[in-house]
Amino acid sequence: MAEYKKPLPVLDSDTAEFWESCKRHELLIQRCDQCKSLRYPPRSICPKCFSLNARWDKVSGRGEVYSFTVARVPLSPEWIPDIPYVIGVIQLNEGVRIVSNIVGCKLEDIKIGMTVEVTFDDVTDNISLPKFKPVP
């Protein structure tokens, strides 16, 4: 695979489970073991009940576009081939929101409220990014 120059996640004790599941093309979200609330991004503590105990739940991977923008100016050269690209905030059906990309559709077709589902982009041998495409 050609060298990938854009930023990649660095796996740590809080986040490795998430990125390893993405590599298997599964979307896992952290759930507090005590108050049962879902949270994203992953972290070591529940922001609602302060419990340190959590597990990972497989979620539907479906949701809707909560907001989006079209990046039309690259920050640095490695982003030039991607321009224009869509940064979206996806509200999963389970309630949590994810910042990701909206792919597989025309820019002018993207609307807030549009139904989308996860699709995994294997950007390196070790990292797959969860992106979202319209549900046909």
């Binding site: 660095v10 923008t69 910042v99 990014l129």
Partner: protein, 381 residues
């Protein structure tokens, strides 16, 4: 809580030239601004015993304010670097008030300076190290991206329009046209705004602040000490803080910010309401930041920021003059320290053509991160 209302005043201000200053450095701009502010106050460097700074965004130096104090030959009893993004300058004034009231020091200089325009890229102006692995891999790389997500949601929820954002850019530019120390002084039309390059929908180039070489500083001291200095004191009547969070995608509400709590605290301390404000210097990293802050401050209802800014209502001579210096959008990005210096100039009556007639009470907002943290000052003459 101790009542800090009107216990301290801003007695000196300094502003370097803003724009492209190839020879300037982060250090030289802070030092120049501090010297101007101290001289403006009528005090000397030997009277200064407190210094609060904020590292320029890509400045790697350790012990930043300590270094600035050393280079200027200050004998400091109190110093710190604060790190709240664009909420920092307002927060510095708040920390100065607390330190003075606690008896730690008596004269505090608050400073920010940055050679971003000439040297930002050499200093590593690329990735901001934001919520890194859950935003950057997807290309959410700049504040522009984050704020445009919030703005788009505001448009969806409340029907805010591009023309309403444009009205903010036009107002700031109109005010900058009356400010000799503004980076952009050529007045804008709505056509200019709408024709400017789309950067990150719905943000066009003219929704985005300047990139600036410049510095600004203020001197804060007790009202007792302020009484017989060079200028009439500008009293600090109210201060507040409010936090939204880190990561715009995850805010419980993407269209309501910590500005509301911050303003509530500041107005309550001052015993004032938004209707009492004569001039508002509102942090404007983007046009949208002004719109949402005016709503959260209570100048209009939630969702009505768009109609509120239309029709020249935030321009000089109208209902609520906003960013009379031109703001970050047109005067220059000195992290909002220039919003404080402008409010002081307005309350001193020193603004010439852009003077708000009879201005007695001003509000200044600071906003850091991606709408993450908000700070407020209420000032009066």
């Amino acid at each position: 809580m101790a009542n800090l209302k009107d216990t301290c005043a801003i007695v000196g201000i300094g502003e370097t030239k803003f724009g492209t200053l190839p020879g300037a450095t982060n250090t030289s701009l802070n030092i120049e601004a501090c010297k101007m502010a101290i001289e403006d106050s009528g005090l000397t460097k030997d009277d200064v015993d407190g210094l609060l700074g904020q590292k320029a965004y890509f400045e790697p130096t350790f012990l930043w304010s300590t270094l600035l104090g050393d280079r200027m030959g200050l004998s400091l009893k109190y110093t710190a670097d604060l790190d709240l993004g664009g909420a920092t300058p307002v927060a510095m004034v708040q920390h100065a008030i607390m330190a003075i009231n606690a008896g730690l020091c008596s004269v505090v200089v608050c400073t920010f300076g940055e050679a971003m325009r000439s040297h930002g890229r050499q200093q590593g102006w690329t990735y901001m190290l934001r919520t890194r692995e859950f935003e950057e891999p997807f290309g959410l790389l700049m504040p522009t991206h984050a704020y445009s997500l919030a703005c788009r949601r505001h448009m969806y929820e409340y029907g805010t329009t591009s023309e309403q954002l444009g009205a903010i850019a036009i107002a700031c530019r109109k005010h900058a046209s009356m400010n000799d120390n503004a980076q952009q002084r050529k007045p804008l039309t709505m056509k200019d705004y709408l024709d400017s390059r789309m950067f990150a929908d719905p943000f066009r180039l003219l929704d985005i602040c300047q990139v600036t070489d410049g510095g600004a500083a203020v001197v804060v001291t007790s009202v007792e000490r302020a009484r017989d200095l060079k200028h009439a004191p500008v009293y600090i009547s109210g201060m507040g803080n409010g936090h939204t969070g880190v990561g715009v995608g995850w805010f419980p509400s993407m269209t309501t910010t910590g500005a509301g709590e911050s303003a509530k605290m500041a107005f309550e301390m001052a015993g004032l309401v938004p209707g009492d404000i004569d001039v508002a210097e509102i942090y404007d990293c983007f046009t949208y930041t002004v719109l949402v802050t005016l709503e959260d401050y209570g100048f209009c209802k939630k969702g009505e920021g768009g109609p509120f800014v239309e029709g020249g209502r935030i321009e000089l001579g109208a209902e609520l003059p906003v960013n009379t210096h031109g703001g970050l959008l047109s005067q220059g990005h000195v992290d909002g320290m220039n919003h404080i210096t402008e409010a002081v100039k307005q309350l001193r009556g020193d603004c010439g053509r852009r003077q708000v007639k009879g201005a007695e009470i001003a509000v200044v907002s600071g906003n850091g991160g991606d709408l993450s943290i908000h700070t407020t000052l209420v000032l009066r003459r």
